[in-house]
Symmetry: C2
Subunit: 241 residues, 2 copies
């Protein structure tokens, strides 16, 4: 899509090697050494290393000091270091995800919400409320709050065409850098029970997410209520020492 910015050489190498590894190599098989790859492709070892670092970070390969670089097991690579999105998770289960916009409004927040979004209490906030379903079974209710000052021209029409995150990035130049999430179990309230078509007092999973841009300003707060009997929240990440 966005081919006006030149792709670095090591990024091309990442794609090339990833495809080669997936098609031709087996788990724990040793791949060429950094020096060997650099020599064959007539590039510097630095570039090879950057590509291999990226492949390791994404879970395709692993390096062992003094021994070499090896292919990882197939199961791990997907969605590393990132909490899976609802859509991806449902697609993995072979279910058809949909989302329906229930509410779109601009309002003055209470103090709690204002402090979460780092805005003054007289500043406006956008609220989006979605019902997410999978194979037409209601799965979760999602309420997202955005500081109006950062997204003043956001429209329902734009949201129907692109995802919120892509709009944030392309239209408003706000991309997510750090995400903080919390999960808790509780009993569902009657309003939510009706929307999710479960009994009052059923167990539900409440996920709250605050997203920050590079300057560590909060640009989004979302609270999700998910059916306890249907929804499992998955995440995978590379452990750092």
């Amino acid at each position: 899509m966005n081919e006006n910015t030149t792709e670095p050489k090591y990024q091309k190498l990442v794609k090339q090697m990833k495809a080669y590894i997936q098609e031709n190599m087996k788990t724990n098989q040793k791949i060429l050494s950094e020096r060997e790859i650099a020599q064959r492709l007539s590039i510097s070892r630095y570039t090879v290393r950057k590509a291999l670092d990226e492949l390791e970070k994404k879970g395709y390969i692993y390096k062992v000091h003094g021994k070499g670089t090896f292919v990882s097991e197939k199961s791990v690579p997907t969605a590393l270091n990132e909490i899976y999105s609802f859509t991806e998770q449902m697609e993995q289960l072979g279910k058809k995800p949909k989302m329906e916009l229930l509410e779109f409004k601009v309002f003055i927040p209470n103090q709690e919400l204002a402090s979460k979004l780092h805005v003054a209490t007289q500043d406006k906030v956008i609220k989006l409320k979605y019902l997410r379903t999978a194979d037409d079974v209601p799965m979760m209710i999602e309420e997202t709050y955005l500081p109006y000052s950062k997204f003043p021209t956001l429209t329902v029409d734009a949201l129907s065409k692109n995802s919120l995150y892509s709009i944030m990035k392309t239209e408003f130049n706000q991309s997510i850098h750090v995400v903080s999430e919390s999960m808790r179990a509780s009993l569902i309230s009657s309003n939510e029970a009706k929307l999710l078509k479960v009994e009052d007092g059923s167990p539900c999973l409440n996920v709250r997410r605050t997203s920050f841009n590079k300057l560590n300003e909060p640009i989004e707060f979302t609270s999700c209520i998910a059916r306890g009997d249907q929804f499992v929240y998955n995440c995978k990440y590379i452990h750092q020492d």
Copy 2:
């Protein structure tokens, strides 16, 4: 503790700069350019970049192409890219965490568990069961399963002195590379209700974690049952594109 391996120059720089930033600099303040730092310390720019990359990854600073490197907000740095441990979370809340070993046994797993740990059904598995409390209030029950073949000499005595993860690393040379977690809400069973001192059918949060080593072999499977009214699971991570 472990000073027999020489620390790389950039790691020292990381510590040095981190301390300097925390003591002397303010949020969004610009720091010296990579070239300037390199020149002043008479080291190469590569080393400075490695240090700055690490500080960015840990959330202390952020870089903007064409502009410079800046100090991040103070709130973010802790425990990035890592799901907080129970102990850290409780300490942040000012509560005193404790854990009590309820069970330690070696047994033959059922098929489900065996497949989770990638062992044959005739292979042995170690089970550890803990009750975690905070200020003497029961918070969660934790059941951990380990492949016996990888930790054959693990003892209760060792566990009373060091954490499981540090034992894994130092005694058995198994360090965690990738972690996969899932969270779900459900209603508590009567056995667990007794241990956690809540009513039957209270809401609870079930967290399941599988940890993998560098070879992507599973080395741990843990299932936690946490009180819904007390426990919130937090995680923070840097968003990758």
